[in-house]
Amino acid sequence: MGAMSTKEKTAWYVGALLIVLYAVIPVAYIVSMSFKSEAALSDKKFFPSDATWANYDEIFAGNGSDLFLPALRNSIITCLIATLIAVVLAMFAAYAIARLDFPGKRLVLTSALAVAVFPVITMVTPLFNLWRQVGLYDTIPGLIIPYLALTLPISIWTMSAFFRGIPWDMEQAAQVDGATSWQAFRKVIVPLAAPGVFTTAIIAFFIAWNDFVFGLSLTSTSRAQPVPAALSSFTGSSYFVQPTGAISAAAVIVTIPVVALALIFQRRIVAGLTNGAVKG
């Protein structure tokens, strides 16, 4: 690509700006709403005229806190555990798929894909009945298990792609150097696959964090209810008031860990990818 003319550059900047605006405005509007007072919620203005922390007070200390704080805790615990299990299981599965030739390898991959494209809503009703009978209804493990079903297929697919990209020579070199299969895996393959592991972890965490259907249907109380489901049961201070402000504030709060994770791991991913290859 040669040097761009000023005209072309301007066109690119305008285009980029439009796309960024399109993506940012809804989020910015939610942030703005979270700072509006109850009365100003429907004033049809983009910026709050009287910025207030009232909504945040409401969800952290006020009426909403009974609902929001446990939900936040549930969400964090459920998603972290689900991500951890998914990543560890997917790592071994993907390694086997990328490295070994075993009967049923294609079956594992295609069934993983089949599960991934399966409409989530069709699983909810049977699970709801089953969970009530086996006592998993409204528990954190009862959410982790379906989350694994959501996150494992995509984790296996992404990670096996990463493992395939690692030259097999690396591992053979390690074996010749005297490593056991486990040592070769842990000391050579895992560090090399680290960017892949982090990418997968982020994707898995987001999938679990954003889930609404399972959270809503398989939980009922603050024992296990995650944030997205809890938001839907927010109520206003009176029957006639919509809880929009509080929901906006909660939405802003739950976005923070996601943004933070993306920023932290992004560094790792870029660092890992530019880490250097086998030969020049």
Partner: protein
């Protein structure tokens, strides 16, 4: 320091095709053996079977007299340098070299790890780079790191899988001497795979030539060069390659495209009237204008097509018409040797002083005693002198043992230098 014995090693893949067929090879302690052959001859497969990365279909592999067929690579205690070096990109140069030692955390104390890495780095001149990552190194430096990783742990033998093929020509020459120096000073048994016959000739105590998975000849470089067993070995060893000329036996004479020579005693009268293949090395021709033909030499006139002057010598190309019967055979051989010559021509290496230029008619001579005569069907060398070959072999063995002993006594005197 070990002896490696291969006994009737066979490698068959799923389709039953034998990639390596009935190879037997005895590598003495401290010996530098080269496996050489054109691409696809099974040399890398054989090496990978020795190190344990490929299963052995049948036959026995012995290290120090112990059968190791079923041992995992890590239990064979061999060090290998891979073609693409297979350095660990996430580790520094120092950690790459230390890797084999670190695997046995309990056995090798940290101080010794550091000392041994230091020693390997000294030997390979990697001291300035120990904290760098492989990605930031040049090709030659990476190659040295890979060697450092191999020498650091006193393995029983070194295995090299085309270690120089990723380097450019100049660096390849330098690293070749470096490998030779390292092997001589350490005196470690070495098995080295290459398709480059220059590497094979310069590095090896003995060279094993493979063709389509079958061992053709195992001998010292000099014996391969002077007494090849067959057409394939003769064509593979030497650069530029040996010239093959069709020769019709007529009584006690051989009729070549350019001249007639007396029939060597080794070629029996039963060949009378038959077509044979005569092989003459390019460097065995000389320009009669520069050096006078000695007695017994055959002089002939040749129309030179193209010349290449290299400063130290001159290549002259002389086209000729090959008889149809041998043309097919020679073209087939050429394909097998990864070549693709379009015409039959004689290549002669002349003195750089020679005034022969493109299009000239040159007076050339050669000694018929230096030529080889091959059976065109079996490819067997009819003029191979077993007695001479054995003598060359013994001589090479004596020289090898002497240099090995010298290296070991030197090491005993200066233990600091590995």
């Amino acid at each position: 320091m070990s002896r490696i014995e291969l006994k009737n090693i066979v490698k068959k893949y799923g389709d039953g095709f034998p990639a390596v067929n009935d190879v037997s090879l005895d590598i003495a302690d401290g010996e530098f053996v080269i496996l050489v052959g054109p691409s696809g001859c099974g040399k890398s497969t054989l090496l990978r079977m020795v190190v344990g990365l490929e299963d052995i279909t049948s036959g026995d592999l012995l290290i120090d007299g112990k059968r190791v067929n079923d041992l995992a690579p890590r239990d064979r205690d061999l060090a290998m340098v891979f073609q693409n070096y297979a350095l660990y990109p996430h580790l520094t140069v120092g950690e790459n070299i230390a890797f084999p030692l670190r695997l046995n955390h309990s056995k090798v104390p940290e101080s010794e790890v550091r000392e041994r890495v230091q020693r390997a780095a000294d030997m390979l001149e990697l001291n300035d780079h120990l904290d760098r990552k492989p990605a930031n190194l040049s090709g030659g430096q990476r190659q040295r790191v890979a060697m450092g990783r191999a020498i650091v742990r006193d393995a029983k033998a070194f295995l090299f899988d085309e270690p120089l093929s990723n380097l450019d020509a100049k660096l390849r020459g330098q690293m070749r001497t470096e490998i030779a120096r390292m092997q001589r000073s350490l005196g470690t048994t070495t098995l080295y795979v290459t398709h480059d016959q220059t590497e094979a000739m310069t590095l090896g105590d003995r060279v094993a030539v493979l063709r389509k998975g079958v061992l053709q000849q195992v001998a010292s470089p000099r014996e391969l060069y002077e007494q090849p067993v067959n057409l394939f070995v003769a064509g593979f060893i030497g650069s530029p390659p040996m010239n093959f000329l069709p020769a019709r036996v007529a009584g006690d004479r051989l009729q070549l495209p350019f001249c007639e020579v007396p029939r060597p005693a080794a070629v029996g009268a039963e060949h009378d009237g038959k077509l044979l293949i005569v092989g003459v090395r390019p460097e065995h021709f000389d320009d009669a204008e520069v050096t006078d033909a000695p007695s017994g030499a055959v002089t002939f006139q040749a129309q030179v097509d193209v010349t290449e002057w290299l400063g130290n010598e001159l290549y002259a190309y002389v086209p000729f018409e090959a008889a149809a019967e041998t043309r097919e055979q020679l073209a087939e051989l050429d394909r097998e040797l990864d070549g693709e010559s379009m015409r039959s021509q004689l290549v002669v290496t002349l003195d750089a002083m020679s005034a022969v230029r493109d299009g000239d008619t040159a007076q050339l001579w050669f000694q018929p005693t230096r030529m080889h005569v091959f059976d065109p069907v079996s490819g067997r060398n009819l003029t191979r002198d077993e007695e001479k070959a054995a003598k060359i072999g013994q001589q090479a063995e004596v020289l090898r043992k002497r240099s090995l002993e010298r290296a070991r006594s030197q090491n005993a005197q200066t233990p600091a230098h590995v």
